[in-house]
Each structure stands twice: as C-alpha cells, then as structure tokens.
Point group: C3
Chain length 395, copies 3
C-alpha cells in the first residue's frame, strides 16, 4: 500500500515526470522493420508523445514530430522521398532530423525544424531514444543478434500501464495461480481438459545483476538443482522480461505508450535446426486482445493472454493505495525500490543501471542467463507431460 | 420547474447523497438466479458502486467489493470455490462476507476484509441491501411468491436516470399520447395499421397507501365502475411499477445503476392454466434497446419500448429546470413530494415508507391491488378489440 | 503563427462568441427538402445549438428548440400535425414559431413558447437564420436559382472546424500538392496509374469583391489569358466555395455545426442538355468519410475526399500557434483579416459583408464569376487529357 503520490511517481511517463525522465534514458522499440514495405509512414506514441516514424526512399528511418510546421496537418499522411518525408498538403519535406529541406513555391526554404529523435534498427525492430544527448549505445541483447535463431514477433496494444505489466514479471507465484488454476478454469468453462499442473511454489528468490534482476523459483516436484531455481531468468531493466528456454527463448518488451497504454512486443526466438536455411525476415503479427474499455475479446486460453488479462484487470493504472504486498511480492518491492533508486541517479546526473556506453560490453552481444529447460512441473498434467498451450499462429 | 439543486437532490444516488441514503434503505435486485449456472461471477453496479456478485460452489451468493485486496485486480475474473471466490491472479479467496479466507504461499492468512453487502434470493432474483444494519425484511411482493403463476423476466440496461423512468409511472395521461398517438405513428411509418385506440382521459386520481401510490384513470368509453378507475394499479415505493391484469400481472423494477443509468427489469407473471405443470425456472432475457448515446436501435413498436424511448429521450437526467408541470402531472408532484418527505424521515433516523420489518405482514406475501382487466378502451381499434402488441419473445 | 486567443476568436462559433456573432448574421443550410418526405422531423445542430427542424402537414418548415416545455423530452421524436409538431410524450404541439398551440387534457393551453428561428427554402435546401432581427434576405446565389441546371447534393459530416475547411479554399497551391502529388501517391498505393499532372503554380492572386474573395492561379503550361488566371473563382463570404466550370459548377458549403464539427454540403449543378426535361427534385446523398476520431474510412481517391482529409488531419481545430504562414498563404491571411474586420463591423452594429438587404440585387439571382474551363493542365497526364476522378455516385 503506497500513497497516490508514490503511485504517480512510479507510473507516470510523460515529459518532465520522474519516471518519464528515467525511461527516456533507454532505447525503446517503436516499429518493426518488416512492416515498412507495406506502410512506410506510421504514427507512433511513446512515453506520452505523439510522433511519426517513417522510412525514406533511401531506406533511412526518421522519427519526427507529428505535425507539419506549415499548417499543422498530421505528417502521418506524408509521402516518403529520397531526402525525407513530404507533407501531403503542400509538399514541405522533412529530413530524418526534422529539418525542412523543401518548401515548394516559396522563394526560399526557410530554416525551420520540427522535433526529431534518433532511431536505430536491430533484429527487425526500430528503436528510438527520447533522452538527453549523448545517447547511450543500443544494447545488443542476445536474442536480437544471435545467428543461430529465427525470429518473429507479436505486437499487442494494451489499455493499461506498463508497470501493471512489469510487476507481473517480478512475481513468480502468479504462475501457479493465474496460469495453473485460473487457466484450467478457463479451459474447463470451454469444455476442455486442464492444461497445466498448478505446481506449488516452495520458494522464490531474486538477484540484482548488471542488466536488471534475475528471478528464481522452486516448485514442488523439482530438485534443488533444477534450472528454475539455480539459473532463473532475468528482467532486463527497466521493462523487458527475458523468458523461455534455450530452444524457444523470448523477450516480452513492455513499451510505455503513455500512462495508461502499453505496446506489448513478444519477441520470439526459435533455435534453428542444424543445416536449415536461416529465415531472412522477422515476421510481425499484430494482435488485438482487448477493447479500449479493457474487455477481453476471447477467453484467455494461453499464458500471454492470461498475463495480459491480469494486467488489464488491474485497471488503467493499478490502484496501489488499496493493495497489500506480502511475502510473495518481494520481487515487486525490490523492483519498485530499484526504479526509485535509479530515478534518483538520473536526478543526480548519473546514468541509471543497464545504460550501455561501453562498446566492448555491447559487441558482439550482451549474453543473458537462461534456463536450459524451465517450468517442467507445470506441464505434467495427470502424470503426462504436455505441450504448453501457445498463442495461435506462433511459430 | 425546479432548481438544479432540487433536481440533484431528487436524482443523485451515489454514496452520501440524500436520495442515495433513502434508496439504500431498500433491497434492490442485482442478478437473476437463472444466469448463474452459465456465469457464476458477475460484475454489477448499483447506486453508483461497482461490486462483484458471485455464487460459491455451495450455492451461496456473495456481493463484495470489486478488487482484490492483494494487487487490486478485478474480482469479476474470480473462480468460485466451496468457501468463496478465488482471485484469478494469486488465489486469495473471499467468503461471502468479504473476508480473505485463503492466501496461498503466505505463512499465514492475514485478517483482511473487503466491502460486502447482504444478499437474498426471491422469485428468481438476487436482491442486495446496501444500507445500514439492521437490514429490513426483503418484501415478499406477491408476484415473487405466488404459486399459481409462471414467471419470466426481461432485463434492459438504459442510459438514463431511474427518476425519468419512475415519473412516467405516476403519469397516466402519457398512455393515450405516447402509446396511442405516437405508437400508431410509429406503426404508420412502418406501413402498418394503427395498433391502439388513443382513448381520451377524462380524469385521473392517486392514493397513497402503505406500500406506495395507487394511480387510477377513467377514459372515454369506460364506465365509472371499471377497474381502471375503481382499483387502479400501484407504484411500490420507491421504484417498482406493478401493472397488468390478473392473467398477466407484472412488475417493472427500475434499479438505479448510477445517476444516469438504470437496469430495467420487467418481471412477468402468467397465470398458470389449471392442471398445467408449474415451470421450475424463471427464464431471463437480456435486451439491448438503446446504444450508450441514447439512440434507439429499432423503431419503438410496443409499450415497453415506447416508455423507454420517452425516458431516454429526456436525456441522462431530465432537465427539470426547464419543465412545466401541469394538472396532468399531479401524480408526479405527489411522488416527488413523497420522495422528499421520506428523505427527511431517513435524515431523522426513521424508517421510510414501505420498509418492512414485521414478519406477520411479510408472510406468506404482500398482496397488492390489481385490476381484473385494464386498458380495455385502448385495444378497441376500428371497433374491434385487438391483442396488445407485446415485446418479441415474451411468454 | 497566432496566439491561442486569436485562434479561439477565429474559430469558436457558440452563442456569444465573436465569430459566432458574425456567423449568426448569415443564413445557413440545415436540411435538404428532398429528405422530408421520408423523415419530416430532424434533429440538427448549428453553431453549437441543438435544434429540431420539422415540416408540418401543411408543408411549412419550423426550426425550434430541442426539448418540450412540458417534461423536456426531445422533440426529435415529434409527430407532424397540420398546425405544428406534436410531442411524442403527451401531445403538446408547437407551431413553427415555437408557441404551444395544443396541450391535451389541460383545462387551458398555457401561453408557453420555446426558442425558434426563421427558415426559408431555396434550391432544395432549408436555410436558417439565428441572428438578430430584422433578418437579411436569403441570398439567391446563382446555382440555387438558375433554370438551366439540374441540381444534386452530397452531405458529409466532418469532425473538424469549419475554418480548417475554409482556409483550404483560400489556398490555391495545395491543389498541385494535395490533389496532384499526394493524390497520385494514394492511387499508386492502390496499384493504379497517376490520376493527375501536378502542374506547378507560377503565381496566385486574390481580389476582394462584394460577396467575398476571388482567387486566381496561373500554372505551368497555361497562357496568361486562361480563365484560371483572368477569371478565377470566388469564396462567398463567409463559408462557401464556388468552384467548377460552366458545365459543372458547384458550391461547397461548410456549415459550422459547432467548434469542432462541420456539415459539408457539396451542392452540384450540371448544365442541362438542350431539349432535355428538367429534373424536378434535388437528390441528396449522405456520405460518411471519417469516423468520429478523424480516421478516414477509405483511401482518399478523389479531390473532395483529399480536401476533407487535409482538414481533418489538422485536428478538431488546427493549432495555429505552431503554424508558419508563408507567401503561398496570402489568401489565408487575407481571409482571416477579413473575418476579423467583419467581426468588428458587427461589434459596431453594422452589417458585415455579403449580407443582402437589397431586393434589386437579389432578384432574379446573384450571378457569380466562374471559369468557362478550369484546371486544364492538371488533367493532362502523360500527354493525354483525362477525366477528373469524381466521387462515386455523383452525376
């Protein structure tokens, strides 16, 4: 139970807020490369700011303010040019830095500029940096870079706070209850057999490391030397869950759209079978799981949908003035304290944790701890080990 | 024409308002028993309060606050247990009084409690009481209890104030104009013959009795000893119209969802034919007649839809600062004065009218005056007595 | 770039605003005669005021306040009578001046009146005047009156300010860029060939005349004596564009619904072929091009849709505090200054421009300058002169 003031400090992400300032020290994905052949100009919203992301005809990406400096029309209708984005209304053209480079009919091109932010591509995603210069390096986290994986992603807009999502990742216990008991209840209501064994948690633990927090669990039936307990999996500070096993590792990136909306990117790697051709693209699937009022459109039959259900069912921003954190919430408390501590670092002018400026650490990649196998007990249903229910259409 | 302040006093139903305090002295239906096999957990909203109504696996109903005390997730996703409702997220379980009775993983179950209100079942409805203890008796009004009737109900959410609905019931004259003249106009626009004779009202009268107000009318063509004039039909204080004749009596219950929304329950009894088996259930039909903006979805061809149209067409709360009550509104004025008088009783610490605490009066039932036949002149169209147009799907 | 205060002064149209006072000195279309057979009672919104437009059974139009003086129900459900509009609820009847003329059941008809405004029919439109008496003449602009034309109209509600629309009409340059370059880009994305030659503007000019502003352009390829440059076409003050050529002249009337909504009426004349029977009606097509959030429903393939796209893409009210007017915006600046000047005239108690009180000028009609042919260069695509893409369903 915290004050409303503290809840605001932890959740508000707009320009000038404490958390907004912290989150602006990191690169955030705002688009998927694979979608720009079909639509090279896309309106985006990040940290409460409306922007336009475009790819010019030379293949360079730009992220600029949403309105033309001339008559304030939305640049989301702009036309890609070799040298930038041309406004639909009168042809004023913006380069990737937001400078007007063409002003048809006018005797001279006035030296105008609209806001712009740096972007970089990695692993099929376009990342943006909205913070103060000099920008840090874009972290080369392993799944974005590894050559032995094929990649794909699912992108889901959620009408809920990014922190509702993140709290869930610091909370191992929910797996037993939300995915085990509740998931089985959803299947039962659909006339289907139980999908999961809700293995009882015996203990949980957390370690802070260079790039975030590793969480670990031991459940009934597993030995003390199982990967879930000895290795665990990391939450990359500030807003990425790294999960899955060596064969199917994935990231869940919770991009803060604004205070009450999150763009959820489930970034999936699949270990390529030996001798198989690597796939050259990173396919993208856009999902719609909730309406704007937070009603789920279909029953939540798999783990990602159940997680999203729990986040959205906490409301646009969870009311932490009425909650009661208990011993199972140690990870949540640790994470909140880390957020507050890193906010203070930023306020002192320091880099917060997991900001990467050392090329030696970033190349060829940042390798992360990962279970070889995980969650084994949960899939032993009625004595038989089942396949996890996966979202439809996932590889 | 009244002041805005007085209109607020008459219409606002939230916690702490004058009318909210009065309405909290009565039991209000919040669910239909027949729907709990399919969905045993239902979010409800009553008098401006969001709540969750559930049936545990022992068949007991509970009405509790909407959010888990742990992480504030909606309990509308809860799972019924023998001993209560289990939160989807981490399994905290609430009994029907709102006490946490299970807190998995925690070393001990903390003595937490969320809000809860008493509920009772009667006649296929679940009633809730949101007022101060001791709760009065749930009135056993005849249609809920009689053994010679089969029952059914239609439930319609309306984007309008409960008082818009109630005013209509204290106003006999509208029948001639809204159902007669306007109803015929609706049919004419659809290319259909007139459905009703708009019999002219000669006089109207009202009597206050123990449970509310009886209204009476005499229309052209009817003798002075007709039931419409000598018996009439009652408005049960504060928010139920009892209407229909001995063969097809019904209640129209206007449950105040909040200031600007009403849950309309049309509770229909049909006199069972001699020797016929009683039906064991009370079937429920959920209707959608308006969108949230108050647009009617289909032409208003029958009496209930025409009434609803008039209420909704007054806006979310009728602007009584611009109205002109006239002699035909005697019943409306009487009803408003009664509401204000009963508000004052509550403020003095007294029970308001129609609060039942005497078991002798309540058992076996509270019998209400009812016309043997009614509205006869209205169905004489072109010299022939027609059947009233009924809502589709009504028995 | 202007201040927010100035932008408000130029755009706000509600009762008591500066611009609202100016716009109330003109007649505005609020309905189309051809639609009243099907629906003789229509809710309308004009200059921020909700009203009801009806045709009584004698064929007379009335424009009255939206709510019955009795119980404040919407009169949009009223029933036309020979002597006025009868309220659906209790039959109170209003004449075209808003007087109650019937009050069934009451011992006497009380002398009540609701707001009303004068209306007049012309050319298949019903015009309303919301300003101070004495009302000026309804201007008989030529397309409403000429006997050598057949008429039709398209009516499109737009979620944007009337001034966004009007600015566009004072801005010749956009034609080359919005309809030429952007239009071709829209067609290209649909796999279609370019629809237009984006002829380069060489010069533009503007002249104030008795009824507004004439705008003129010279584009590359056209001689100095072309109609586009020597004649041009007028913007009728304050809110009508007159465009097209002698064969297919049209008006685009931007009726200010409220600050952020406009009813766009594209009023089309087609020169009748010699010997052909005149058509007796003025057909009406209701269009839906955008949703309420301003998203366009289909790609903008023709000129009217592209214009609408530009207006709506400026937002509900264009943010003129961030714009940069340049030399190509001379017409826009001229128009804004004219608006401000005419506001001041009204504030001094004078008639603003284009208010017509002289019958001699108004009869038989007010003839407007019009190009014999226009826009020729734009339709020379690949050396071939094409037909302009027209909205589907236009004659």
């Amino acid at each position: 139970m915290i004050t409303q003031e503290m809840n605001d400090r932890l959740t508000r992400v707009g320009p000038g807020t404490s958390m907004g300032n912290l989150l602006r020290r990191y690169w955030h994905p705002v688009g998927a490369t694979g979608e720009f052949d079909k639509e090279p100009v896309q309106p985006v919203r990040l940290l409460g700011e409306d922007l336009v992301l475009f790819r010019n005809e030379r293949g360079q990406f730009g992220l600029i303010g949403p309105r033309c400096a001339h008559r304030a029309i939305s640049l989301a209708y702009g036309i890609p040019q070799p040298n930038g984005l041309r406004c639909a209304y009168h042809g004023w053209t913006y380069d990737t830095d937001g400078h007007v480079v063409d002003m048809p009919f006018e005797p001279a091109c006035l030296p105008l500029k609209i806001p712009s932010y740096p972007v970089q591509e990695l692993g099929g995603l376009i990342f943006a940096y909205l913070g103060p210069e000099p920008a840090p390096l874009l972290p080369r986290y392993d799944l974005f870079v590894r050559e032995d994986l094929d990649r794909s992603m699912e992108i889901t807009p959620l009408p809920t706070s990014w922190l509702n999502c993140m709290d869930n990742s610091l909370d191992p216990i929910h797996f037993e209850h939300l995915h085990g008991v509740f998931g089985n209840y959803v299947h039962k209501k659909l006339g289907r057999p139980a999908a999961m064994n809700p293995a009882r948690h015996l203990k949980i633990d957390f370690d802070v490391f260079e790039y975030g927090i590793v969480k670990r669990r031991l459940v009934e039936g597993d030995p003390e030397d199982c990967d879930d307990w000895t290795i665990g999996h990391p939450i990359l500070f500030p807003n990425i869950l790294s999960v899955g096993d060596v064969k199917r590792p994935n990231y869940q990136i919770r991009v803060p759209t604004d205070d009450t909306h999150t763009l959820h990117i489930r970034y999936q790697g699949v270990l390529r079978e030996p001798g198989k051709e690597p796939r050259s693209d990173v396919p993208v699937r856009r999902m719609q799981v909730f309406d704007e009022q937070g009603n789920i459109l279909e029953p939540a039959v798999n783990i990602p949908e159940q997680d999203m259900l729990a986040w959205v069912a906490q409301g646009p921003i969870s009311d932490r003035t009425i909650e009661h954190l208990v011993t199972s919430d140690r990870g949540v408390a640790l994470y909140h304290n880390l957020l507050l501590q890193e906010i203070e670092k930023v306020e002192r002018g320091e880099d917060p944790m997991a900001v990467v400026r050392d090329k030696a650490k970033n190349y060829p990649m940042i390798e992360l701890p990962r279970e070889r196998v995980g969650y084994q007990q949960f899939w032993k249903v009625g004595g038989i080990t089942r396949e996890p229910a996966r979202p439809a259409g996932r590889g």
